[in-house]
Symmetry: D2
Subunit: 309 residues, 4 copies
């Protein structure tokens, strides 16, 4: 199974579970994979930034991806984040992942890239090094990476590099950007790319209306993301937005930069998906007040979900 | 009326209205002031970043602040943004504003400040230059200004500079920060400062629970902000959060960096508060799709507000 | 006299002299203008960043530019920095400057510009607003402004906007960039643009060898810059570099970000060009150690200059 | 041999040599170590940023450090760069290095650290994790890392963490900073720290005069750095500066951000210290013009060195 431009639906960005001691928790990795599968995931993304990939050793990355790929067992495509300051390490991990059954890899731009010419050249270099058989997801996440892609730059990259099959869209604001890309495809005949949105899904209904194919994000209630995408596709636009709005207070909470990962892992723990909410050092931690606040927000969500529409 | 540390409630960050031609629209300035007054404002902030202050000439700033101050006529305190790359221009505007009846001024850190020692020295210099009779609001807005304040830095500033009476809090994430400041006051006996929150109010209920005194932000439905603060103070915490959540989809939409100002002015125009949604160049503009999307979000809001709780 | 693409030689970036009290010192403005004229300036640039332009009121800017333009009396072209967060203020100052006899204006990109498409659109908007009769110098200064131009972006701008006649080149590193631009002109027939280099002239000999037409920078010994350019053009490449290297220790010292302006003004004061080295607040100040260190460096320079080649 | 606060002289930042194929070149690693030892190194730093450490696999880092430490054979202290986004990987490498005979480790702040409180907490956490027996060098390099240390922050860190024995000082401008730290030691009795300067040595004579103990930088003529430090200590301040100024044109050239590493490796290759100037991808490359320009600068240097003083 190779990722292609028809990919759609919900690809959760998987957390990487650790024990309280900080060790990789492969049992939870299996449980978490099941959690995503049972809640409507149409794909899965592992070893992304929210997967604490830079804090894993190469051996840990390998162990984790093998466990997840085995658990998925080909039922849905798995994308592996391979961003790395060195090209050869990136290529090594990508080839290892593909050999183990991954559907494609995700590559974020290096934070040191300053001009769009440099960005384009970087993706050309990366694709050449990966070889044409590795489908690539381009991650556009300026808030955290400090690298911005204009629409013409994305169009240049997509035109030159057919192996880039998906855009992980998390520019902010980014609604017009989505519309412009889709307009280029419909009006000028550009190759249609799969676009999954990130940022915790903060603008998912609006992004679907502008042409997104779904979400690639780690919000800890992936079943809602799946439900919203499904309703939207079935034509129930308002119903999709209603379902979404119920979760918006918690999405907003989980989207806090840095801290959000600790929130997300704690929700996953409470929902039984992982054994420990441990985030590797250096990383955010929740104190008693944070935990009580989260309880309040989760209780409100439960009550809202229980209410008839 | 001088601003002091007891300030609370809702201080809308006023837009600066222009005609479609780009000229300052003083008639709309009066109408907008009335709009804020009628919707529960307990104070008002003008010439902030969202007031497009850097795009006004000194003469325009003076004209605008005089019109607003005359219209307010002492009913609520008015804070005037005076941030400026030059100290003497800042002082001149501040003194002009105070002479015209302002209650205080707001000062953001210069984007060139790199260390917290530089930040502290900057506020010391600013306060000395303004003189002790000018109450100061410190704006903590790292996302846009690129300058971060740790809690110890804020505490040092508040301890050294008694004329700083208020923190405009818009760090993100910033919930723990609020709690830490309040803890320093209650446990260590630090001087209690007024804290009003920004960021469009995106976390207002959580921030009130952690000790904020209200909001200083320009969300185009200030009556909701006032309602939330009032309910919260009356002990109706869940009711406050319910009232807030109804607006969250639109708050989220208006909080988009850069673009949000165009959204906000368009809502204010639709609500009859200003004659034109014009944003001065260079600035964001809404296209037909953006306008239709906003209509959809506003319609959903109207329906939600019409629904019995 | 209108600036055009044939401009070359040395355009000092003029300091803006103040009295110790901080007031604009127009008498020193005249003296400083003479200083530049007598030391080989082939043009002059005022109200740049190093001219503390953002700390001048509109009235001060006008007063200063009129005094300088009157003193120059048409002998050399004068470029006026007009960068401003607001477009209409920029246009007003530019038109005022041109009416008073300026040869052109200089425009830096707004620090908020993130993509090269935004940069291009910004210069298109600026040129439209200025009108076709205002020659424009584009300032490329990523270190301070945080905005990077790739060569293709510059080429697009130069191709679309004929009124941009000069590039103030201070990217760092920037030597290959210069070569690429010149290659585009010679090999592809692009319009030849005037390129003057900044950064205190830190790489002037190398930049001349790669096709720069001279320097636009405020190093406090402009006669050396003029000498280097002249020798280089006369074919004495090694002699140019010898003359330059003598000054390199002091150039390096004056190129320190932020602090450099205080160093520069102190040298200008010691050389009799201005009455006071005052830098407006907030701004860098030299302490006793800094002043003694500068004395040492200037003494070494004097000794080196006195030595036979 | 443990690094302590008495460290001084010249600790070259070692390049990491690769074959043209990109493979680690351990034979050149030995040759390069000899090169540094023969040219006056009083210490050596490996696996720093200029050593392309983030592009090495853990196995390569281990192999390289073992070869270098074996070659040095205890003659001079070797500092190992261990900066890593994950704390446990940092600790593992540090302990491995110390076990293999390293004298200490160097830790740069994470680019994500925003406030000085976060910086302080980070170093506290790092030192706790490393354990008290690992001497630490703190790297202060805002230009590249985007993290700034004020003098009070450094003083707090040095006071709280006795195992930090050295400051690698490459703030820019940073001369006053040096003086302030030394003043705190002499006037207030702060613990005296070793300070070695970086930035290619661009301000070495001035920094020595302000209290630096030497240089920790990779300039490809380390014998000059050693000579300058020695002359300065012998009281020949002007002689030190004369020796330095001869090299300043090339230092300036090698200090170009990003590109400088390619220049440095090419000089080392030409000087016979390494077999290939290969920089791992993604990384800078020199074209024919760059190489010819470098030849010119090196020729000028040779001529200057041959000239009687």
């Amino acid at each position: 199974m190779r990722l292609d431009t028809s990919a759609s639906g919900v690809f959760p960005i998987s957390a990487t579970p650790f024990l309280d001691s900080g060790e990789l928790d492969l049992a939870s990795a299996e449980r978490l994979t099941d959690f995503y599968l049972e809640r409507g995931a149409t794909g899965l993304t592992i070893l992304g930034m929210m997967g604490e990939a830079p804090k894993l050793s190469p051996e840990e990355s390998t162990a984790f991806l093998k466990v997840v790929l085995a658990r998925v067992a080909g039922r849905i495509p798995v994308v592996v984040g391979v961003s790395n300051p060195g090209l050869s390490a990136m290529v090594a991990l990508a080839h290892e992942a593909m050999a183990a059954g991954a559907a494609g890899v995700m590559v974020a731009p290096l934070p040191s890239l300053k001009t769009e010419e440099q960005i384009i050249n970087y993706y050309v270099m990366v694709c050449q090094a990966l070889g044409p058989d590795v489908p690539v997801v381009l991650q556009d996440f300026p808030l955290v990476l400090g690298v911005s892609f204009s629409v013409p730059t994305l169009e240049t990259i997509f035109a030159r590099l057919p192996q880039i099959v998906m855009l992980k869209h998390e520019d902010w604001p980014g609604l017009s950007k989505l519309s412009r890309i889709r307009r280029g495809e419909s009006e000028r005949g550009d190759r249609r790319i799969s676009i999954l949105v990130g940022n915790g899904g903060l603008f998912l209904p609006q992004e679907l209306a502008r042409g997104a194919d779904g979400a690639m994000t780690g919000y800890a209630y992936p079943e809602m993301l799946a439900d919203v995408v499904q309703r939207f596709r079935a034509g129930d636009v308002e119903g999709a937005e209603d379902a979404f709005d119920v979760h918006l207070p918690l999405i907003r909470h989980e989207t806090q930069p840095g801290l959000g990962l600790a929130v997300r892992k704690e929700i996953l723990r409470r929902r039984g998906a992982i054994a420990s909410a441990h985030v590797r050092s250096p990383g955010p931690k929740l104190d008693a007040l944070d935990l009580a606040e989260l309880t309040g927000l989760m209780n409100r969500l439960e009550r809202r979900m229980a209410r008839p529409a």
